[in-house]
Amino acid sequence: MKETILLTKHMRENPEDSHFIESYEKSNGYSTAKKTLLGSSPEKVLEEIKASNIRGRGGAGFPTGVKWGFLAENEERYLVINADESEPGTFKDRILLERDPHQLIEGIIITCFAANIKNAFIYIRGEYAKPARRVQSAVEQAYHNGYLGKNIFGSEMDLDLVVHLGAGAYICGEETALLNSLEGRRGEPRLKPPYFPAVKGLYMKPTLVNNVETISSVPWIVENTGEEYNKLGVEGSTGTRIFSLSGHVNLPGNYEIEMGSTFGDFVETLGGGIRSNKKVKAYIPGGASAPWFRGDQLNIKMTIDDVANNNSMLGSGAVVMMDEDTNLVNAAKSIVSFFAHESCGQCTPCREGTTWLEMILDRVASGRGRTSDLELLLDICDNISPGLSWPPKMTTICPLGPSAVSPITSLMKDFREEVESMIPTKVLL
């Protein structure tokens, strides 16, 4: 298989200076935005986005055109770019922010034109200091050239864009937590309803919250038409997508591909296979929140629907390969610790449950487990996510708690023997 290069084209062709405005303009950058603002209409842009059938690249995979269509009428409306990329295994927005910030800004201009928005924010996670610097300089350059501010490209359109730095909270990737954070509050997800920020979002005004990769795709779609974009990939998973590949592979990295080939093909060709020719014991198809697949399930196709039909999710597009020597209890413990650390603390099942899961996994991993621990783990999981089904049911406001359940149900379903083998059979004195 080969990569299909749309989003990463400019940065690949101009490795020396892709993040500078002069370089981006040389690659015809901002020409799509200019044409659109001067000669197109918001309705036309929305039509193209709908025709492209692009689905959100943040994790939930919600159709972007539908989301834009929801945006309620109001004088005050906002666009918030979710650049709080923190899902373990994911580093694809980082490359877009660092290497091609102007593509994102152009996408923001077009999006705000389509949605009649005058204030936009890019919420970047605090740990992404270098990407944030790059984006901040790009925003300054764009202001300087008249691509942001008043009367953009000489049109009637005004747009202000603020780069907002987070401060280390994974939960702010959840859109309502992100909005609370941007309002200067604790990053706690909001109780639903209201279900959609597009109706009540930032300051309770209609707000579009979109992922970096989604909005970075907008200039290409508008330039080449939604119909062309829709031809790439497969039905339900159109276009290209940047997958972050990590773990025990020879060639980890970001790969832009059309969705539809198998995980096995992806790892063997672009990923260069597993290190030392080892076998895959298990892999994570879509970030730490996603239930794992076994090594004998590498023939599953990399599409949103195929992965969902196999009871997991393509999520943020983060693929983590674990070879045959991996201690899966330690791996699960790492993921559960992550969620225990990142729980915002609002909901008891998540706040207490994730911490208990972490403690129990820790004693199993260190050889102090009890035979009753396996059922205890599942019982706690059931309190967070009743029935342990997929997609998960929740006793919590947001899906963070149920995400901590994923690695444990994966362990118990497919690797129970490995867990049992770590429980001492004799009483320890």
Binding site: S86, G126, S181, H248
Partner: protein, 204 residues
Amino acid sequence: MSWDEKLIKQAKKIVKLYPQKRSALGPLLHLAQSKDGYISDDSVSVISELVGITEVQVKSVSTFYSMYKQEPTGKYLLSVCKSISCEINNSNSIIDIVKDFTGLNNNETDEEGLFTFEAVECIGACGGAPAIQVNYETVEGLSTENTLNLCEWLKNETPDLVVADELQNQFGGTKSFDWAIADNSGTTGSVPGFQTLNTTKDKK
């Protein structure tokens, strides 16, 4: 108010960036940290006046986020990632090296105020696992040997400006992706090297 005039001016500019004052709280807490290295009681009081909320509301927010430090950190904040991709690529051995070298446990600062060590969750460097951030400047593809070299270098050279690209070239290995052109911007002090600048409103 005990922030100097220049800082207050900068803070007021940041407040103006937002449709509602309270939104400036996050950036102002970063600004407070760039002054003191942590969120001092004094800053809490200044910020509460600037955004028009109570001191306890400011504290409630500042204690929620892990990057707002409640006490001074060392000159170098060493954050070793322990999330899944790093974990299965032996981040434990990197953590051990840093702990041994600094003599610190998680979230501790040495007496000289040189190093603070923390084991952190995913820093988005999974393709270059295991990875570390020094004052939020990322170094990827670490070996245990190079981690030790990095710590020693910081201790001996004590650079005021920490630059990701410089550290990566000297001590890093496999990267998550091609970083391309070297960047000489970095950070001074143990807070993110990013300034919320007044890029909007004022201009144009």
